[in-house]
């Protein structure tokens, strides 16, 4: 465990070096933005819309006290979406989708000697393969999370239109009530950290994969589990640091 942590930081030191050719780096970066970011939009829309809808419905149907104002539904949906659901839950979902993809891609390159081929040519394989992925995640994850926040609140809106549990006007009033811009910064900061964790941890497990197809599969599973656990720990630490 401690050995792996040390190996991870040594790997990061090699990843964050100057790319050999910037032109190639930019091309790889845009490619990774497509693969990691743009291709994740459908799952973010799907998850966020339904989760936002469920949060609004649960809150509305469980509000039995007449002392609670009707706009509470909107306020709770907004708070839980911005503070936790969009940055954390979406990152956990993306850890499953992107993390396994990265670990299996790099792991397959390792066992089929493609990484050795890069090294023999004199290419810094870690910098070439991992840095564009990390930068793409850091740049695009916040966009995905803002997108998720919007879709979640929209999901809540439409679920209330369909259920008629409370009026959409009070829902929108609740969303706007007590809105703090600082919460958005907090969410985006977390997202950048989570994006970095997902890509770097998954790359680590893929890069050091050994054996054959079975071991690549195992590395992929380990990458997802380790990414998720790291996200949960980082979430706890960041919440302590930023909000409290």
């Amino acid at each position: 465990m401690l050995g792996n942590i040390g190996k991870y930081f040594l790997m990061m030191k090699v990843v964050f070096t100057r790319p050999k050719k910037w032109g190639i780096f930019w091309r790889l970066l845009f490619n990774e933005i497509q693969l990691i970011g743009v291709n994740s939009i459908p799952i973010v829309i799907l998850m966020s819309s339904f989760m936002g809808g469920v949060i609004a419905l649960q809150t509305a149907s469980n509000m039995s006290s007449p002392l609670l104002p009707a706009y509470t539904v909107g306020y709770i949906t907004q708070s839980s979406t911005i503070l936790e659901f969009s940055p954390t839950i979406i990152s956990l979902i993306l850890a499953g989708k992107i993390g396994s993809n990265i670990a299996s891609e790099i792991g397959t390159m390792r066992i089929s000697e493609q990484i050795d081929a890069l090294e023999i040519m004199g290419v810094n394989s870690l910098n070439h393969l991992v840095l564009p992925k990390i930068i793409a995640a850091i740049l695009f994850f916040p966009i995905l999370v803002i997108f998720s926040m919007f879709m979640s609140l929209m999901g809540g809106y439409f679920s209330l239109v369909l259920s008629d549990l409370t009026s959409t006007e009070t829902y929108i009033l609740g969303i706007r009530a007590f809105f703090e811009v600082g919460n958005i910064y907090y969410a985006l900061t977390k997202t950048v950290v989570f994006g970095f964790i997902i890509v770097s941890v998954s790359s680590f497990y893929g890069y050091y994969a050994k054996g054959g197809a079975l071991q690549v599969g195992e590395s992929s599973t380990k990458a997802v589990v380790a990414s998720m656990v790291s996200i949960l720990i980082a979430n706890f630490i960041l919440t302590q640091m930023i909000l409290l």
């Binding site: 050719k21 089929s112 493609q114």
Partner: protein, 256 residues
Amino acid sequence: MIEVKNINKSFKEQQILFDISSTFEKGKVNLIIGQSGHGKSVLAKCMVGLHEIDSGEIFFDGRDFAAMDRVEKTQIREEIGMLFQGSALFDSLTVEQNVMFPLTMFTKMTKKEMQDRVDFCLDRVNLSGKNKLFPSECSGGMQKRVGIARAIAMNPKYLFCDEPNSGLDPLTSIVIDKLIKDITYEYNITTIVITHDMSSVMEIGDHILFIHKGNNWWEGNRDSIINAENPEIINFVYASEFMKKIRTSMQEKKHI
């Protein structure tokens, strides 16, 4: 020329290479042969720096590779071409992009110059017109040839081939062997081929290093290996019943 001196290599507690020394000359096809698991590939990977050696020296034309740092090694590696056992082509790139890859990474050639070089290399391995195929669309023999084209794209001084004939039929193997031999002589490069294919040994072995249990067991060429008296060499060269019969009949003829 590549010289290795007193190379030792262990993985954890298990020592794989024991004090290996040899010289691989320029303009010759140098073979490293031996049974599977006896250290051939480990030696080659040590030579190109994919494995760190425990002790010893590796000289590329007098330059001490083992003593270099990562940046200095990178400069030497730009002079090395390598054909891997499984070809190691980049799946996501076409044949043309695979061959062009080292050129885009390490040269300042214009697109036209790179294209000309790629076309030349593909033509050299008889793959003209296959530029747009992906590796998954190529046969095993074609993949090996693309691997060779990629390996020679940068005009390497040193060419390493790790079991170039594995998984190929005998006729395609001969084509690959001939290609390696022709390229070595044509460009006067130092070629090292790791193999246990006896037809390759007889076809292209200008200098042969036989590794047995991690030791430099025997050195010679394709003529001397036939008559070698070393029992391990005999077991290796004449492994099949068919080859044993040939050896017996050869010996009988000698006595007559």
